[in-house]
C-alpha cells in the first residue's frame, strides 16, 4: 500500500493513530541522521562539505564501523557508519575522541634510540634505516642460534595474523598477548561447552537479562552495539535487567534491580538458580536430554546440593531473591539471557564461574533462540600464500606447562618466567602494550625491562613514550588506527559482517603501521623470511577481502572502501536463529552424509557422551549428531552437542561439571573476621585502560580515579569524602583519595584502571607545559588544559593470582586493608615489595594442576564446606 503523507495524516486524524503510534516513533528523525558532514561556516551557518572515508575504529576493541571526515587533509570529525550492522551509525565518546588519538601531543612521531641508561629518559632521533638495520641485525644473529630467543608480545594486535606470520617466518614460538590480563578465563569457561569463546545475546528481542558483573552500558565487550539493542529491548520490549555486581556501574545504576554480591561468588548464585529451576520443573528437560552430554535427571541430582540458602551464605544475595529471580528468568525463556562479560571470570575460580552462569541458559533451552543466548556470528578470510610453517620448538613462556587448559597464553607470568631463567631471551619486542602499567605486579616488569642481562635488546612499537617504552632500547613510532590496513570481523551483532581499517589521513610525522615495519624487517633479515612478505599491507588486505565469500564479485576492497562493511544488509534484514540445527542430508541408502558438500561421504554412527555422534571417515572426525531420526551439524564440540560435563578438565584434576569453590583468601572477610576488604578495579565509558589518556577530550572528563568506598566502611575507619587513604595489599601500598558512595558493597573498595600515568605526555599527565620534542604540540592543550589531578594507578599493588584453569589474572580478588593516610603519606605514593610479589606468584602456581607440581588444586576441589 502506498500512501502519501496527506493520506497518512487523514488516517491519523480519523483514528487517532498519529498519537497512539508516537512511542514507536522514538527513533525516527526528520532531518537526516548522518552519512554526510559539513564544517561550520560564517555566523554558525553551513560551511564546506567534508569527505567521508569509511573505516573501522580501534579506540577500543569493539571494532565499530566509522565514517571519518577529512577536510584539507586533516581528520576533523568521526561518526558511526550507518550501514554497519553492529554500529548502526552510533559511536561512543571514545570513538568520537579518535581525532585526539591521531593528533595528541603525547604521540611520538620519529624512531628513537635510547642514550644513557634504561629509564633515564634520554633519547635521540634516528632514521628508520638505522633503527630497522639494527633490529634486523639482532634478530638475524639470534635466530641463527635459537629463534625462540626472539619474543613478540602484543597488547592489542588487530593485524589479522600478520604478527604471528612474522614470528613463524623467523621460526619463533615465543609470543605473548594480553588475553590473560583480560578475558581468557571467560573464553576457557565457554569453549569446551559449546565451541566459541563468547556469546551474542539477542538483547533487542529479549525479555529478561540476568547480568553477572558485566558493564554493558559502559565497557563490556561490544558495549556500543549491545547497549543500543539493550535500550531497544528495554524501552520497546519491556525487558527486565537484573544486575549482580559489587559496584554500582552505570549498568547496575540503570538496572531494574541491582543486587550487590560478594566478589567471586557469581558461580554459586547461578548454581542455586539452576537448582531452583530444575526443582520447580521449569527446566527444558527435552533440550537438555537431546542437546547436552548429560541428562536432565543427572543434572537435577547434581545441582540439588546448591541451595539458595547456601548461596546466600557465600554471596550475601538473599535466598528469596535468588529463588524469585531464578523463576522469573526461567519463565521468560526463550526470551531470556545471561551476560557476563567479564566480571565473573576475573577470579581465581573464573572459568568455573563462567561455566555456571552459562548453565542457566542451557537448562532453560534459550540457546541461539530469538531473544535468547546466541552463538556469536562472524565472517572469515584467508591470508595469502606462501604461509610460513609452525615453529619447530614450543616456548615455555608462551605456553607454561602449569596451565595446560589455558589456551590463550598466561602472559602476565612472563616477567617472572624470564627473571627466573625459564627461557632465555635475546630480543624482546612489544607492540601496542604497556606491560609496566597494564599487568598485575607491574613493578616486576620494571625490574625485568631494566635488566640488561636478562633483556639484552628491547624494542617497543608504541605510539607513546609509555611507562614501558621508556625502558626500551629503541622505540618505533606506531601510526594511529587512522593510518593502517587491517581486516576486521566481530560478533558484535547477530548479522555477521566483515570490514576493514584503511588509511584516512597521512601521518603527521614519520610513524609507520606495524605491518609495514614487520615487512621491512623481514626483508632486511633475508629472503628466507622476506619471501612471506612480498605483499604490501594494502595488497595483503586486498587479498583478504577478495577471499571473503561473495565480496570479490562485489569489488573486494573497493566495495569496502566505498561502504566500510560487507554485506550491506539494509534495515529490514533479520538474523537467523538456531544456527546449530542445520540438518544433514541422507544418501540414496538412507545414510547421513558429510555436510561438507565436496566430501558428502556416508557417515558412521557411534554412541558416546550420552548421545549418537556421526563420524566422517574422510575428515576423520565427528561432523554431526543424530537426534531422533534427524541429524544436525550441531555445536563445535567433540560430540557436536553441548558439553555440560567437560572431560578435559577432569583429566587435569579439575571438576568436569559446573562447580563453585570459595576463594581461600576471602574466607576471613566473608566470616566477618578482621577488617580486610576486597579491592576490585573497573572501567568506565570514556576510557580504555591505558592509551586513551592521551585523548584530551576524554581526559578532560575523566582524569582521576579515587577509591570508591561505602559510607559504612568509611565511617568505621573515620574516612571522609576526599580524604587521603592508604590501601595496602600483600605486595605493597598506594596512597589515593577516597570517594564515599552508596554505590559499592561494604566489603569492597574499587579503583578504576584508567588513571595515574607517570610517563606518556602532557595530556595524560596533565602537564600543559611539558615539552614534546618528538611530537607535535597542541595549542589547546598548552593553553587550556585545566585539571591537575591525574589519579593513582592501582596495578602495582595487585599481586599475581591466576585461575588455574583459564589462566586469567584474578583482578577482582585482591585483599587489602584500607586506612586513613599517615601524616607523611603523599597523594600518589606507591611502594611495592618485589619479594612479596614474587612469593605471590609462586603461591598462585600452587593452585595449578597437580600434574604439573601444583599442590593446592586438589584442595580447592575438595575444600568445599558446601
Amino acid at each position: 500500500m502506498k500512501l502519501n503523507r496527506r493520506d497518512f495524516l487523514k488516517i491519523g486524524a480519523a483514528s487517532g493513530a498519529a498519537l497512539s503510534m508516537t512511542p514507536s516513533l522514538l527513533c525516527a528523525m526528520e532531518l537526516e541522521e548522518g552519512g554526510k558532514d559539513v564544517s561550520v561556516g560564517t555566523n554558525w551557518g553551513k560551511g564546506k562539505n567534508r569527505q567521508a572515508i569509511p573505516t573501522t575504529c580501534l579506540q577500543c576493541n569493539i571494532e565499530d564501523g566509522l565514517l571519518a571526515y577529512v577536510e584539507d587533509g586533516r581528520l576533523v570529525k568521526i561518526e558511526g557508519n550507518p550501514k554497519h550492522p553492529g554500529t548502526r551509525g552510533k559511536i561512543c565518546a571514545k570513538g568520537q575522541a579518535g581525532i585526539n588519538t591521531v593528533y595528541s601531543p603525547d604521540r611520538i612521531l620519529y624512531p628513537l634510540k635510547r642514550v644513557g641508561a634504561r629509564g633515564e629518559g634520554k633519547w635521540k632521533r634516528i632514521t628508520w634505516d638505522e633503527a630497522l638495520d639494527e633490529i634486523a641485525g639482532k634478530i638475524k644473529e639470534t635466530i641463527a642460534r635459537d629463534p625462540n630467543e626472539v619474543m613478540f608480545h602484543y597488547g592489542r594486535d588487530r593485524t589479522s595474523g600478520y604478527t604471528k606470520r612474522f614470528m613463524q617466518a623467523i621460526g619463533s614460538a615465543t609470543m605473548g598477548s594480553h588475553t590473560s590480563i583480560c578475558e581468557s578465563s571467560k573464553k576457557i569457561g565457554m569453549e569446551p561447552t559449546w565451541g566459541p569463546d563468547i556469546e551474542t545475546p539477542d538483547f533487542e528481542n529479549t525479555k529478561y537479562i540476568l547480568n553477572f558483573g558485566s558493564n554493558i552500558y559502559e565497557a563490556a565487550y561490544f558495549h556500543n552495539t549491545y547497549i543500543q539493542r539493550l535500550i531497544d529491548g528495554r524501552v520497546k520490549n519491556g525487558a527486565k535487567l537484573v544486575t549482580f555486581d559489587v559496584r554500582l556501574s552505570n549498568t547496575a545504576g540503570k538496572s531494574d534491580e541491582w543486587l550487590p554480591i560478594f566478589p567471586g561468588t557469581d558461580g554459586v548464585v547461578a548454581l542455586a538458580m539452576a537448582n531452583i529451576i530444575m526443582q520447580k520443573g521449569l527446566a527444558n528437560t527435552t533440550f537438555i536430554n537431546k542437546w547436552t552430554n548429560v541428562t536432565a535427571d543427572q543434572l537435577k541430582e547434581y545441582l540439588a546440593k546448591y541451595t539458595p540458602e547456601m548461596a546466600e551464605k557465600e554471596s550475601g544475595v538473599p535466598a528469596k531473591d535468588i529463588r524469585r529471580i531464578a523463576i522469573e528468568f526461567a519463565k521468560a525463556t526463550p526470551m531470556c539471557t545471561t551476560y557476563t562479560y567479564r566480571g565473573p571470570a576475573m577470579h581465581l575460580n573464573g572459568s568455573y564461574n563462567e561455566k555456571c552462569t552459562m548453565l542457566l541458559n542451557i537448562i532453560v533451552g534459550n540457546i541461539d533462540k530469538k531473544g535468547g543466548y546466541c552463538l556469536p556470528r562472524g565472517m572469515g578470510w584467508s591470508n595469502p600464500a606462501p604461509k610460513p610453517p609452525k615453529p619447530a620448538k614450543q616456548s615455555i613462556l608462551s605456553n607454561p606447562p602449569e596451565y595446560p587448559l589455558a589456551g590463550h597464553h598466561v602472559s602476565h607470568h612472563i616477567a617472572h618466567g624470564i627473571l627466573e631463567g625459564r627461557q632465555k631471551l635475546s630480543v624482546y619486542i612489544w607492540y601496542m602494550h604497556n606491560p609496566c602499567y597494564a599487568n598485575p605486579d607491574a613493578g616486576t616488569w620494571d625490574t625485568l625491562l631494566k635488566d640488561t642481562e636478562k633483556m639484552p635488546f628491547t624494542v617497543a612499537i608504541d605510539g607513546f613514550i609509555s611507562e614501558s617504552s621508556d625502558l626500551a632500547d629503541i622505540i618505533l613510532p606506531d601510526s594511529s588506527y587512522m593510518q593502517r590496513h587491517d581486516s576486521e570481523s566481530m560478533p558484535s551483532a547477530l548479522l555477521p559482517w566483515v570490514g576493514a581499517r584503511v588509511p584516512v589521513v597521512k601521518n603527521i610525522g614519520e610513524q609507520r603501521e606495524v605491518k609495514d615495519m614487520l615487512r621491512d624487517l623481514a626483508q632486511r633479515i633475508g629472503p628466507e623470511v622476506g619471501k612471506y612478505f612480498e605483499l604490501t599491507p594494502e595488497q595483503f588486505l586486498e587479498h583478504q577481502m577478495n577471499s571473503v565469500p561473495g565480496l570479490k564479485e562485489k569489488g573486494g576492497l573497493s566495495f569496502i572502501r566505498e561502504h566500510g562493511v560487507f554485506p550491506v544488509y539494509g534495515p529490514e534484514a533479520k538474523p537467523e536463529f538456531e544456527t546449530y540445527k542445520k540438518e544433514l542430508m541422507k544418501d540414496s541408502e538412507g545414510n547421513f552424509i558429510c555436510p561438507d558438500t565436496k566430501c558428502a561421504t556416508s557417515l558412521t554412527e557411534h554412541e558416546e557422551y550420552n548421545g549418537i555422534s556421526l563420524n566422517c571417515p574422510m575428515h576423520k572426525k565427528v561432523v554431526g549428531t543424530k537426534i531422533g531420526d534427524k541429524a544436525y551439524t550441531g555445536f563445535n564440540t567433540p560430540s557436536k552437542r553441548l558439553h555440560v560435563h567437560v572431560e578435559a578438565w577432569e583429566e587435569y584434576g579439575f571438576k568436569p561439571m559446573p562447580y563453585y569453590f570459595p576463594i581461600p583468601e576471602h574466607e576471613e572477610i566473608k566470616a566477618g573476621k578482621g577488617n580486610k576488604l576486597v579491592m576490585t578495579t573497573y572501567k568506565i565509558n570514556t576510557h580504555v585502560q591505558s592509551r586513551t589518556s592521551a585523548c584530551k577530550w576524554l581526559s578532560e572528563i575523566h582524569h582521576n580515579n579515587p577509591m570508591l568506598i561505602n559510607p559504612r566502611t568509611a565511617a568505621e575507619r573515620a574516612i571522609k569524602e576526599g580524604d587521603l587513604v592508604r590501601v595496602t595489599s600483600k605486595i605493597g601500598y598506594l596512597v589515593t583519595k577516597a570517594h564515599v558512595t552508596e554505590g559499592i558493597h561494604p566489603k569492597v573498595v574499587a579503583i578504576s584502571t584508567h588513571s595515574g600515568h607517570w610517563k606518556y605526555g602532557p595530556v595524560s599527565r596533565a602537564k600543559k607545559d611539558m615539552p614534546t620534542p618528538y611530537g607535535q604540540a597542541d595549542a589547546d592543550v598548552s593553553k587550556n588544559l585545566w585539571w591537575d589531578d591525574i589519579g593513582v594507578h592501582p596495578n602495582r599493588i595487585i599481586p599475581i593470582s591466576t585461575d588455574p584453569i583459564g589462566g586469567s589474572q584474578a583482578w577482582m580478588d585482591t585483599v587489602v586493608s584500607v586506612e586513613k593516610a599517615k601524616a607523611t603519606d603523599k597523594y600518589g605514593d606507591i611502594k611495592v615489595n618485589l619479594e612479596a610479589a614474587k612469593k605471590a606468584y609462586h603461591d598462585t602456581l600452587g593452585y595449578a594442576t597437580k600434574k604439573q607440581g601444583g599442590s593446592i588444586a586438589g584442595d580447592i576441589n575438595q575444600a568445599i564446606r558446601l
Binding site: 561518526e79 552510533k90 561505602n710
Partner: protein, 254 residues
C-alpha cells in the same frame, strides 16, 4: 504500518529540510496538519502553532546510556576548546545502599523562547535566530560574563582563545545542510530527538503531547528542551565535580 511510517518520514525529511532553508512557508505547512492533533492537547503542552519556527529537543532519559558521546561529539563538531562545554552530561546517584539508582542528565542550551541571556546582554550580542535558535554574535561580544551568570541553565562559557561567549547552536550549520545536530547523530541510546516545535506534526511535538515531559528547573524563559523520565534529583541542575571545576576555571578567564 511500517511502510507508511517510512514513507512519511522520508517526505517529512525533505519537507523539514526545505523549511529549514526557508523554501516552504511555515504557515502553509501548519494549516495542512493542525487537524491531526487536538488543539487542546497542543495547548496543554504549550505547543501552539505559531508563525515562527522553534527548533527544540526531546531527550528520552529511558534511552540515555550516559555515554557522553554527545558531549565529545560536540567538542569535535564545533571545535570547542578545553575548559568549556556547550553540551555535557551530569550524573546523579540517588538512594541508600543497596537501593541505589543512577540517572544521567544531558545538559546544554535550552534555546528558550524568552531567553534570559538575550535580556542580560547589554551589547545585544545574543539573539534568537529565525529558527528559534539562540546565537551569540562573537563580533559583538565583549565577554562581559553577565549573560553567563544570567543563564539559568549554565549553558554559556567563555571561549578561552578568543575570550568570547560560546554556547550551543543546535549545530545550525548541520541543520542548514539537512542534518541533525551532532549530539543527536552520535546518540548511542537514540535518546535525543530533534525537530521543529512549531510544527505540531513534528516528532518532537508529538512526543511532547504523548509522553510525560518536563523542562529543566527553574523553568525560567520557556526552555525548549524537554525531558522524558527525569526525576527530581536528576533535575536539580547540580553539576558533576569535574564540570564544577571546569566552570571555576572558565570564570577565572579575563
Amino acid at each position: 504500518m511500517s511502510e507508511v511510517l517510512v514513507e512519511e518520514q522520508t517526505e517529512r525529511r525533505d519537507f523539514i529540510k526545505k523549511a529549514a532553508l526557508g523554501v516552504i512557508g511555515v504557515t502553509a505547512a501548519i494549516s495542512a496538519v493542525t487537524s491531526a492533533i487536538p488543539r487542546k492537547a497542543l495547548e496543554a503542552a504549550k505547543i501552539i502553532p505559531t508563525k515562527k519556527n522553534q527548533f527544540g529537543m526531546v531527550i528520552d532519559l529511558r534511552r540515555c546510556t550516559g555515554c557522553r558521546a554527545c558531549q565529545v561529539a560536540c567538542k569535535a563538531e564545533n571545535g570547542v576548546s578545553l575548559g568549556g562545554f556547550r553540551s555535557w552530561v551530569n550524573y546523579t546517584e540517588a538512594g541508600a545502599y543497596p537501593k541505589v539508582k543512577k540517572e544521567f542528565t544531558p545538559r546544554g542550551c535550552n534555546h528558550c523562547t524568552q531567553p534570559e541571556c538575550v535580556k542580560a546582554c547589554p551589547v545585544k550580542a545574543i539573539s534568537k535566530g529565525a529558527n528559534g535558535i539562540v546565537l551569540v554574535d562573537q563580533t559583538k561580544c565583549k565577554n562581559l560574563k553577565r549573560r553567563i551568570k544570567k543563564c539559568p541553565y549554565g549553558a554559556i562559557h567563555t571561549d578561552p582563545i578568543i575570550l568570547k561567549a560560546n554556547k550551543c547552536t543546535f549545530c545550525l550549520h548541520r541543520v542548514e545542510a539537512g542534518l541533525v545536530p551532532s549530539c543527536v547523530n552520535t546518540c548511542q541510546g537514540r535518546a535525543r530527538i530533534f525537530g521543529d516545535l512549531s510544527d505540531p506534526m513534528s516528532e518532537v511535538s508529538r512526543l511532547i503531547v504523548s509522553q510525560v515531559t518536563t523542562t529543566l528547573a527553574p523553568k525560567i524563559g520557556e526552555p525548549n528542551v524537554y525531558y522524558v523520565g527525569i526525576s527530581a534529583a536528576g533535575n536539580t541542575g547540580t553539576d558533576d565535580e569535574w564540570m564544577k571545576k571546569n566552570r571555576e576555571f572558565s570564570m577565572l578567564r579575563k
